[in-house]
């Protein structure tokens, strides 16, 4: 028996949280708690890097699989990774320590409890990405609501209660139908084990309804238009670290779910509903980009840009082309890094000025140049400038889309232009222009920890922008295999 590396990835943050739980809570800046949390997450990150190094890229079958009986004769605790999920795990373990470093100023009270919530959240998120049993997946997927609800509700902004409730109830409402579908799958096929389900396949006559049930959950989580309205509220009210987790990782659960479950389990239904996804994605891209143009609040603008970017992701997944799916995965990873970075940059100025309104700022470049350079990098990465990871994702997605449906691809390309418009306009209004607001002159540039976090995010964004091979090599075999299985399934039915 090999070392249960995935379970230890899931359990380690929980152990860290337990440890914190039994330490004494201090008022103010509780350094001990922070170091404990940081240590746990960094160790987790190193383990996940080790996972990536020892990951065999030449096979599409699941690796590091653990299979234990959990409920006798019904559910097995089964986890494992393939090329698609491993990157998300690394993204999770990479973002979480940065979140923990960033809580310096944004969280004033109950720091220990905040760190516990973040650690538990990390463990659930890793669980989602490596679960290979539908029930286990659902468990992690839903359990994540609890810490996130508390993070938004306790440490959020002025309208935090409304946002926390909206977040929780929207997501729960979407997910309960998925639970019905999961149990139905059990009664139809006799198992909830994903690997076995890939082999058995699900009868075509059930696929459409089951697909819709899964879709209702993933569409809310992605979020797709028109059920995206919880996202701007949740993002705006959540503390910086919460927004980062939400944008960088939580949204990716749905994209991952689309690839792993909707495509993998219901190939025929995926084909049937492709026009629906195309329509919703294109609306999301164009419509939310236009909304983003009009935003006064920086966090809200970035939140809407997330909806638009996730629109690209769903579009890419359902092109059912090699490039499209690979592009979607890379876009998700890239968006994870970029949106995290953007929320952190907003957090930096918010901590100093306590305002998220764009009109408060202007002319920052002359006061805080270092900040402005990094902000520019992230803004450009967000709009998909060549040389940043955002470009690779969007380019591949559009390539896949052009192969599949010319009209959709053309409209989506307009979205790219709109994306450039709102990001550059945001950057112009915040960083350039005349320095009118006198208070801004007293602003300090990035301190060491902020500089460190943002550079940590900038390095992979640039690196994968110029050299995406490590990412593509990891996912390629799995995606090829997914497409091949999909095509044989379609052909045989």
């Amino acid at each position: 028996m090999n070392f249960p590396i995935l379970s230890s990835l899931i359990l380690l943050p929980i152990i860290g949280a337990l440890f914190l739980f039994f330490t004494k809570d201090k008022e103010g800046n509780n350094l001990t708690a922070k170091y404990v949390a940081l240590f746990t997450t960094v160790v987790n990150f190193l383990i996940s890097i080790y996972l990536w190094i020892s990951f065999d890229q030449s096979t599409s079958s699941f690796q590091f699989v653990e299979d234990r009986t959990w409920i006798e004769g019904f559910i097995n605790y089964k986890v494992g990774v393939d090329g698609i999920s491993i990157l998300f795990i690394i993204l999770t373990t990479f973002i979480t320590p940065l979140c923990i470093i960033s809580v310096n100023n944004s969280v004033k009270n109950r720091l220990r409890d905040f760190l516990i919530a973040i650690l538990i959240m990390e463990s659930f998120m890793i669980g989602v990405f490596c679960a290979l049993d539908l029930v286990v997946f659902y468990l992690f997927f839903e359990a994540g609501l609890i810490p996130m609800f508390l993070i938004i509700g306790i440490w959020g902004g002025a309208r935090r209660v409304y946002s926390a409730f909206k977040f929780f109830l929207y997501t729960l409402l979407g997910s309960v139908l998925m639970l019905v579908a999961i149990i139905s799958i059990y009664w139809i096929t006799g198992t909830t084990d994903v690997v076995q389900l890939y082999e058995i396949g699900i009868d075509v006559k059930y696929q459409n309804l089951l697909w819709l049930a899964f879709f209702s959950s993933f569409a809310v989580k992605t979020p797709m238009w028109p059920v995206h309205t919880w996202l701007p509220d949740a993002h705006v009210e959540a503390p910086t670290a919460g927004s980062v987790l939400l944008a960088a990782i939580l949204l990716k659960m749905a994209g991952y779910g689309f690839i792993r479950f909707s495509l993998g389990l219901f190939p025929v239904a995926s084909e049937v509903f492709t026009p629906l996804i195309y329509t919703l994605s294109v609306i999301a891209i164009i419509f939310t980009s236009l909304i983003a143009l009009m935003q006064e609040d920086m966090k809200k603008l970035i939140a809407y840009s997330s909806v638009a970017h996730m629109g690209f992701v769903t579009l890419g997944i359902f092109t059912l082309q090699q490039q499209g799916i690979e592009g979607s995965i890379i876009q998700m990873i890239s968006h994870g890094l970029v949106s995290a970075a953007l929320f952190l940059t907003v957090g930096v100025v918010y901590d100093r000025m306590h305002s998220r309104l764009i009109s408060t700022y202007g002319g920052l470049v002359s006061v805080i140049p270092k900040y402005s350079i990094l902000f520019m990098l992230f803004a450009l990465a967000s709009l998909g400038l060549p040389g940043t990871s955002g470009f690779i994702g969007e380019f591949l997605i559009l390539m896949g889309a052009f192969k599949d449906n010319f009209l959709v691809a053309v409209i989506a390309s307009i979205g790219v232009i709109l994306g450039a418009a709102y990001m550059l306009w945001l950057y112009k209004r915040v960083v350039f222009g005349k320095l009118i607001n006198e208070d801004l002159k007293k602003m300090l540039d990035l301190n060491r920890s902020e500089y460190f976090i943002l550079s940590c995010l900038a390095v992979p964004i640039l690196f994968f922008g110029f050299y995406p091979d490590p990412l593509i090599n990891t996912i390629e075999v799995s995606v090829t295999d997914l497409i091949n299985t999909h095509n044989t399934n379609i052909a045989s039915k």
Binding site: D25, W70, I71, E72, L139, V161, L177, Y186
Partner: protein, 472 residues
């Protein structure tokens, strides 16, 4: 000669009741010793019952009017444990209101005896006797805090409405007797055939009476008032123990005498279930008193339990029993929290009193957080698994409508549980509450919360025990 060993638990508990009454009459200041002795009596009864579980598969007594099988033993154990825990955590509350008297344990023991008779009954008359014994004890318990207007009102309301439902139940029993010629469940089961339309009336009357006892919509009207007015410890008793007994009787009625008439009653149960789930979720939203809120939430939870019964399968029955077991634990935990909201000999029951509890009492709030999320059915807590098994059984029978309505009402119900969490965690704090709670109260809260929290690690054990119950 009948094998009286099989009803040893009942015999023992009756003798204890008599002994405790005599002791109470002849000894001054005997409340403390009666309390302790009654706890002792329950413990011994539990031991006897547990012992019995391992040796008996299915035995009948007294012309088959009493049945001892796996389900009856398990439900008796659950009832006894419930009664025991209610007794141990009541003492501080009763002392505060100066009603720490011998009658309390005696009444609780009598109602437990009534429930045990109900659980074992295989005959209409035995069943009715058990039902009335437990009900009479419960009426008195509801008014137990007799100096308070609300408590007397609760008892009176409960008595009047409950008597009405008992009347309906009895009328239904007489109809069933008239058409089958026997009061014995097994004989009724053989004699009945579904062509008799008047018989449907009999079943409906019986189901109405039973639905009243478990407070399923539309026979729930008494529950909020009675729950609010009764002393908190009695409310705890109401929400846990009689429901276990009534549920067992429900299962017995549906699946022994009336199994052949499934077409007649299945729709009724589905209706009761859906109505309870939806109403329980919607009506609880506007409540301000925690006990009233718990009343509505318990109506909702009974709806889920009934959904399991509506499936007409062994899995469904087992999932209902699992549900009620987990529900009992969650309820115990919630009431333990409620009993801790005490400041200077006064108990607080409004949701607003919980405001900002997490600042002053972090551990208590954490427990409440776990309990409330579990009641809302969020994984990985025990409440999720309870619902999961129910819906698994429901979907096995392809009852999609029931499953989807049930799950959607969990979302509505989640709202009011979240509202309490919001008040505990997000709102401004108030004064501190006393922290000198009795050891038993702390114990029951800790153990039940840990059970809820860690249930997901060992979910198989409970299923294994319950899977021995095969009625059909």
């Amino acid at each position: 000669m009948e094998n009286l060993n099989l009803i040893l638990p009942e015999i023992f508990i009756s003798l204890s009741i008599m002994f405790l009454l005599i002791l109470g009459v002849f000894k001054n200041d005997s409340s403390k010793i009666t309390f302790n002795l009654s706890l002792f009596a329950i413990l011994i009864t539990t031991t006897i019952t547990i012992n019995e579980t391992f040796s008996v598969t299915r035995e009948t007594l007294f012309n088959e009017s009493v049945v001892i099988d796996t389900m009856s033993s398990l439900m008796k154990i659950l009832t006894l444990i419930g009664g025991f825990l209610v007794l141990v955590i009541s003492s501080t509350y009763l002392k505060t209101f100066k009603i720490y008297n011998i009658e309390y344990p005696v009444l609780i023991l009598s109602s437990i005896l009534g429930m045990m008779v109900m659980i074992s009954s295989n005959d209409l008359i035995v069943f009715y006797m058990g039902l009335e014994l437990q009900s009479l004890a419960l009426y008195v318990l509801a008014t137990y805090n007799r100096d308070q207007l609300k408590s007397s009102e609760a008892g009176l309301k409960y008595f009047v409405l409950s008597a009405l439902s008992s009347g309906l139940l009895l009328y239904g029993c007489s109809l069933v007797y008239g058409f089958s010629g026997s009061t014995n469940f097994d004989i009724i089961s053989n004699q009945l055939n579904s062509n008799e339309y008047v018989l449907t009336f009999g079943i409906v009357f019986i189901l109405v009476g039973l639905a009243f006892k478990i407070s399923a919509v539309p026979f729930h009207m008494w529950a909020p008032d009675v729950y609010e007015g009764s002393p908190t410890t009695v409310t705890l008793f109401f929400t846990m123990v009689p429901k276990i007994a009534a549920l067992t009787v429900f299962i017995r009625f549906l699946y022994v005498p009336f199994l052949n008439l499934i077409d007649q009653w299945q729709m009724i149960i589905i209706f009761l279930s859906i109505a309870s789930m939806v109403f329980g979720a919607v009506a609880a939203i506007g409540q301000t008193n925690i006990k009233r809120l718990i009343a509505y939430s318990s109506i909702g939870h009974i709806g889920y339990t009934l959904a399991g019964l509506a499936t007409a399968s062994n899995e469904g029955i087992q999932s209902s029993i699992i549900y009620i077991s987990i529900y009992v634990v969650m309820n115990l935990a919630l009431f333990s929290c409620l009993l801790m909201l005490r400041r200077k000999d006064q108990y607080y029951e409004d949701i607003e009193d919980l405001s900002g509890l997490s600042k002053n009492h972090p551990l208590l709030s954490l427990c409440m957080l776990v309990i409330l999320f579990s009641l809302a059915g969020i994984p990985p807590l025990a409440g999720f698994f309870a619902k999961f098994y129910i819906f698994k059984a429901v979907l096995e029978q392809s009852m999609f409508f029931l499953a989807i309505v049930g799950l959607l009402s969990t979302v509505v119900a989640a709202f009011y549980y979240l509202r309490i969490i919001k008040i505990i965690y997000f709102d401004k704090e108030k004064d501190k509450y006393d922290t000198d709670h009795s050891l038993w109260l702390k114990f029951s809260l800790t153990v039940s919360t840990i059970l809820i929290l860690l249930y997901f690690i060992f979910p198989s054990q409970l299923i294994e025990v319950v899977s021995r119950i095969n009625i059909i």
